[in-house]
């Protein structure tokens, strides 16, 4: 065994892994979208497992409230105020110097995700997309790219004490035809995320980690499950990839594996069946405008027309500062990482975040405190 492989001895002992599997991992390129709670656990475990190339993209900086669950960061990172992607790169360099990490500090949106997944200089097309994000808009973008380009995508989500995960081995051709991907050739393609959840929850409906809280174990379990599925895919053990969606609640002691396979056969998915990439095409999702001279950013949501439930949102935001609402708008004072912001929400989901000129910051505040 070469010296470069010695550190992987314990996982190479596993049946279906071996040196061949390890070599495949070392040749693999993975895009980790989001480097918060899920993303840090994912990047940490993938780096330790010896994945050759990690592209880590995140728009945020590290805050003290992240340390309870975001395992790659420490107090020094908070004091230095460095971006999450850069801090992750620094940590991984000390964990496994055999891994190449590209740290990209940017918002992931419909204008750049395809480039990140398929055309990054020195990387090219990635072999897998890992979901470490905190909102459904970015998840549907990742799902669109995965299906369009035939790249496996592993969904993960966690809030409070609950979590969910599911591996998409995408269909790349019309129903009835057999695609050229390894998983399609052996009949292991799975429904995409939009087959399972046809629509994103409208803004303000779902609790977020910043309004409802989250415990570290919930995110760690999800992220490690995602990594396990990734290892199966990358080592070529496609027959062992779960065709079900994991869903659990640690506080209620419930673990479920929901069957989802029929979602592709019976459903009419816009994405993987009709090959209509609505998020990638910018038809859905949000857009931002910096409001000149006002130190504010406007976020416009292209939603399904559902009105926001101000009563519910107000209840969640009261723990963060003063909230006032009427029939037309809700205004909340929020202190995030020591910085004061004023969030104004309109009932169609449009928002103005005052206190920043940066679209990234405004989108982050929206995802954290309103949810999308």
């Amino acid at each position: 065994m070469g010296q470069d492989l010695e550190r992987y001895h314990r996982q190479m002992l596993l049946p279906g892994f071996g040196e061949a599997g390890q070599r495949r991992l070392m040749d693999a390129k993975i895009l980790v979208v989001g480097c918060g709670a899920l993303g840090t656990v994912i990047a940490n475990m993938l780096a330790r497992a010896g994945v050759g190339h990690l592209v880590i993209v995140d728009r945020d900086f590290i805050e003290i409230t992240n340390l309870q669950r975001q395992v790659l960061f420490d107090e020094r990172d908070v004091a230095e105020g460095i971006p999450k992607a850069e801090a992750a790169k620094r940590k991984i360099a000390g964990i496994n110097s055999q891994v190449t990490v590209e740290a990209i500090v940017d918002d992931v949106n419909h204008t750049n995700i395809e480039k990140l997944a398929t055309q990054l200089p020195g990387v090219g097309r990635v072999d897998l997309i890992m979901d470490g994000v905190d909102n459904f808009e970015t998840r549907y973008l990742a799902n669109d790219v995965a299906v369009k380009h035939g790249i496996p995508y592993i969904y993960g989500g966690a809030v409070g004490t609950v979590g969910a995960s599911y591996a998409v081995l995408p269909h790349t051709v019309a129903p009835g035809e057999t695609g050229e991907t390894p998983w399609e050739k052996v009949g292991r393609a799975t429904p995409c995320l939009r087959c399972i959840f046809e629509q994103a929850p409208p803004p303000g409906v779902n609790p977020t980690c910043d309004t409802a809280g989250v415990i570290g174990p919930a995110v760690s379990i999800v992220a490690n499950y995602q990594v396990a599925e990734a290892l199966k895919i990358l080592t070529g053990n496609l027959e062992t990839v779960s065709p079900t969606m994991l869903n659990f609640d640690l506080w209620s002691n419930i673990f479920k594996q929901f069957k989802v396979a029929r979602a592709y056969d019976v459903g009419e998915c816009e994405c993987c069946k009709k090959r209509n990439f609505e998020f990638l095409d910018g038809k859905f999702g949000s857009s931002t405008t910096t409001l000149c001279g006002r130190n504010a950013v406007q976020l416009s949501q292209k939603s399904n027309g559902q009105k926001l439930d101000f009563d519910e949102i107000a209840k969640r935001l009261q723990a963060h500062g003063k909230v006032t609402a009427n029939k037309f708008m809700l205004r909340a004072d929020i202190t995030d990482n020591g910085e004061p912001y004023e969030l104004t929400l309109f009932n169609d989901g449009r928002a103005i975040v005052k206190g920043t000129k940066h679209a990234n910051v405004a989108k982050s505040i929206y995802a954290k405190y309103v949810g999308a």
Binding site: T161, F197, V205, N206, N247, I254, K256, A263, G371
Partner: protein, 93 residues
């Protein structure tokens, strides 16, 4: 065995049903069970339904481990002891 089915309530909807994790409810179909819950807890129904006969599309409902969309939807029959799970998309991370 109870004649009822058990309905698992997700965290986000528990405040609408008096903070209960699960409810034992009588009903022969998924639709009947949810209607009966809706009568008792109108706020729960407001969150669950998009229109009178349509569940919001970011919420899935499973009977045991099968998605009702791929059985008979709200007409999916239930037998005593079945478990109905209401599963919203989980966005955090």
């Amino acid at each position: 065995m109870s004649e009822n089915v058990t309905v698992r309530i997700p965290t986000a909807l528990r405040p609408q049903v008096g903070d209960q994790e699960s409810l034992d409810v009588a009903g022969g179909t998924v639709g009947e069970v949810l209607r009966s819950m809706n009568t008792q807890y109108p706020d729960f129904g407001k969150r669950l339904y998009k229109s009178e006969n349509e569940i919001n599309r970011f919420i899935n409902i499973y009977v045991n481990d099968e998605d009702i969309r791929f059985m008979e939807n709200l007409q999916t029959p239930l037998k005593p002891g079945d478990e109905v799970s209401i599963v919203p998309a989980i966005a955090g991370g």
